[in-house]
């Protein structure tokens, strides 16, 4: 039943990152790390995605977009904050335009700190997210089963 852990599709959003973490996220797709081994696909579409990877902190310009993208995703879904900026704002914390980490706007399930974060850490974070994803799926199934009765 836990097919969701075998086929987690990702949407990657770059908040106010310096692009260091973004490069590392893309590195995960390269032959060296090849996350497709785990059935992971980087979709560009929130409606298809299960995991929301965000790099960089949240600023006043992109807050609506992060919220909207999150809302567009279909349950069950998890959010992974990649890099120290996404986790807490990092070096940009308390900057005039920065609201802080991703958790200021949407619920975050896994934090992957680092500057820039290493691909191994990202993969590790995603794998941890899979456990949470499965829990959420079971929860959803229970709710829906309950609703049917």
């Amino acid at each position: 039943m836990a097919n969701i852990t075998k086929s987690p599709w990702i949407i990657h959003y770059d908040g106010s990152s310096c692009n260091g973490c973004d490069i590392e996220v893309l590195a995960c797709l390269t032959p060296l790390y090849d996350i497709e081994r785990f059935g992971i696909i980087n979709t560009g579409n929130p409606k298809h995605a299960d995991i929301f990877l965000i790099t960089g902190g949240i600023n006043y310009q992109n807050v609506d977009i992060v919220k909207n993208t999150y809302e567009q995703m279909v349950d069950p879904k998890v959010v992974v904050a990649v890099g120290i900026c996404a986790t807490s704002g990092g070096v940009f914390r308390e900057c005039y335009n920065i609201m802080g980490g991703v958790n200021e706007v949407i619920p975050v399930d896994v934090y992957v700190p680092g500057c820039a974060v290493r691909p191994e850490a990202i993969i590790d974070g995603v794998v941890q997210a899979l456990g949470i994803l499965e829990e959420k799926r079971a929860q959803l199934e229970k709710e829906q089963g309950g609703a049917k009765k």
Partner: protein
Amino acid sequence: MINPFIGAILFVILAPLLGGLVAGIDRKVTAHMQGRVGPPVLQPFYDILKLFEKESVVVRPEINFYIFCYLVFLVITGAIFYAGEDILLVIFALTLAHVFLVIAAFASSSPYAHVGAERELLMMMAVEPMLILAAAGMYMTTGSFFVSDIIDHQSMGGGLLVLSIPLLFIGIVYILTIKLRKSPFDISTSHHAHQELVKGLTTEFAGPTLGMYEIAHLYETVFLLGFVWLFFAGAPLLGIVVVAVVYFLEILIDNTNTRAKWQFALRSAWLVALVTGIINLGALVVL
């Protein structure tokens, strides 16, 4: 010939399994071509099963209906084909199925899906003449539009179909790239990690809706491979080998080409259909 109903029923049951395996091998081969390990061969099944585990969320409830119709008519298309019925009817049923898909994309009224829908329509328009001309060539060679007769004609000493309509076969292989949504013609929507225009016409399909779409695509793949096989139906095993080679070729093309513009897709597909059609059918008339 085997009983038509058996052919149809086998198709309905086995096509998703076979199609899933083909898709899985496709992804594995693609990964190896790129120097990666790639996902497990069963990955397409995981993907589809996962989609049905997700919550059903739609932009408009009708979209589910259209996609369901798409699935049903693709199954019917393949079933008619594998039952050995009229090949023109098969082509028309295929068109009907795709019209439902396009309408589903239109009905989502999203900008990305809309462009995807228009492009899918364009690709249908690009492909249809070739299919009809191939059917015409089959009729002129074997004297029948019925798939079962076309097979019988070949196995009863009529010679392989591909020998009398080789150019049409090449034309079919050309448009197969469009039908299988492979690069350079993955214009309306694409597979896996390829992205453009978000996800083309499938942008607004989520969860089980996308699942139905994916299953339909598996059916379509198996139907299309059957169509290719038909050219070699006189020697079934050779036919299977050719199908494998053709599919490998498609993967190779997929991995070595960048996406083309729709203008090129339309013009080249029509040109191929026109040239192969005129020369090959003309030759059949004259000879």
